[in-house]
Amino acid sequence: MEQETILIAILGMMAVTYVPRALPVMALSSRRLPQVVVAWLSYVPVAVLAAMLFPALLIPEGQAGGQQIDLSLGNLFLWAAVPTLLVAWKRRSFFGAVIVGMVVVAVARLVLGG
């Protein structure tokens, strides 16, 4: 992809990221969002994260290539999710979970020669 095209995408990303960050704090410091909007938004983080996570774990090669669900033991991304999830859940540690996940994958590749 051309660097100019990437820059246009970055500027677009900047706009769509900044508006949701700024709008409530600048426009409705005294008013509140409508109840139905708050309810809808409250489901967005969980839904969007799961919508991104499941394909990453179940279809490891993602965008291109073999579009198949891989539940085999060879799917490192899937079973490395177990320790990552446990650290996030039991320790409530965001960065701890991320580091553990990356280390588990790195070590497993070293040991398995992947």
């Binding site: 820059l7 995408a9 677009g12 990221t17 409250s42 983080p45 919508a51 991104m52």
Partner: protein, 238 residues
């Protein structure tokens, strides 16, 4: 701890703000590094890689965008995906709004620019328990966090040319691990577990059906809407 009015007037408190950002820095530097390396591998120039950390400044969205760039996705789908992924900030912004009513618009505009999951977590906990500190302290936390993100990115850009393959370092697992951690920390009740499972399954289904660029957006919008309808329906029934 200074009372808010006093520290605000004096513009003091920035060392406290910097120290509050330290847990964030410990996370942003390695993840920023992962982003920097992966962006290089995806074919982004060093300048564009750094510009994204400066202008967009949203970790998960940046890593997702890098994946989409590598996969040759269109600008429109990258921007729309970023929008949906970052919509959660609307909630964070609305949550801190009542505490910052006394701030000037220009300060609020600057504050919003650096409102991330992590700075929100630090600020909202403090605002609720100790009240709002002076602007200097709040901005010191935010600026320190973003500077560490940009520094991590720069390290990644430098290492990108040295590291031939990100796989032995597990860097390609940074994003899935981040999703897992964010997801687990977001889930508070059973409805949200159901929402997560449904959105995940729908997203996989759409991907397998060949809607690779749109699966995340479509699954999110459908399942969030279903969640609201379910909530309304169960309230009416009870």
């Amino acid at each position: 701890m200074n009372p808010p009015a006093q520290s605000e007037a004096a513009g003091r408190g920035w060392p406290t703000g910097v120290s509050r950002a330290m847990p964030i820095v410990l996370g942003y530097v390695p993840i920023g590094l992962a982003y920097g390396v992966l962006a290089q591998k995806a074919g982004l120039s060093a300048l564009n890689t750094l510009l994204m950390s400066l202008l967009v400044y949203a970790g998960s969205a940046q890593l997702i965008a890098v994946g989409l760039f590598a996969g040759g996705a269109s600008v429109l789908s990258i921007v729309l995906t970023t929008f949906v992924v970052n919509l959660r900030h609307l909630l964070f912004s609305a949550a801190v709004a009542p505490f910052l009513q006394h701030w000037r618009k220009i300060d609020l505009a600057g504050f919003a620019y650096e409102l991330t999951d992590e700075t929100f977590a630090v600020h909202s906990a403090q605002f609720a328990s100790e009240g709002v500190p002076g602007r200097a302290e709040v901005f010191a936390t935010n600026v320190t966090a973003q500077v560490s993100w940009i520094l991590g990115t720069a390290l990644g850009v430098l290492l990108g040319s040295v590291i031939a393959d990100v796989k032995p370092l597990g860097l390609d697992y940074a994003l899935p691990a981040m999703f897992i951690a964010l997801l687990i920390l977001q889930i508070q009740d059973r409805v949200q577990v159901a929402v997560a499972l449904l959105a995940g399954a729908l997203s996989v289904g759409l991907l397998l059906a060949g809607l690779g660029q749109w699966n995340v957006i479509v699954a999110t919008v459908i399942v969030a809407t279903l969640g609201v309808m379910l909530e309304r329906w169960s309230k009416k029934r009870s």
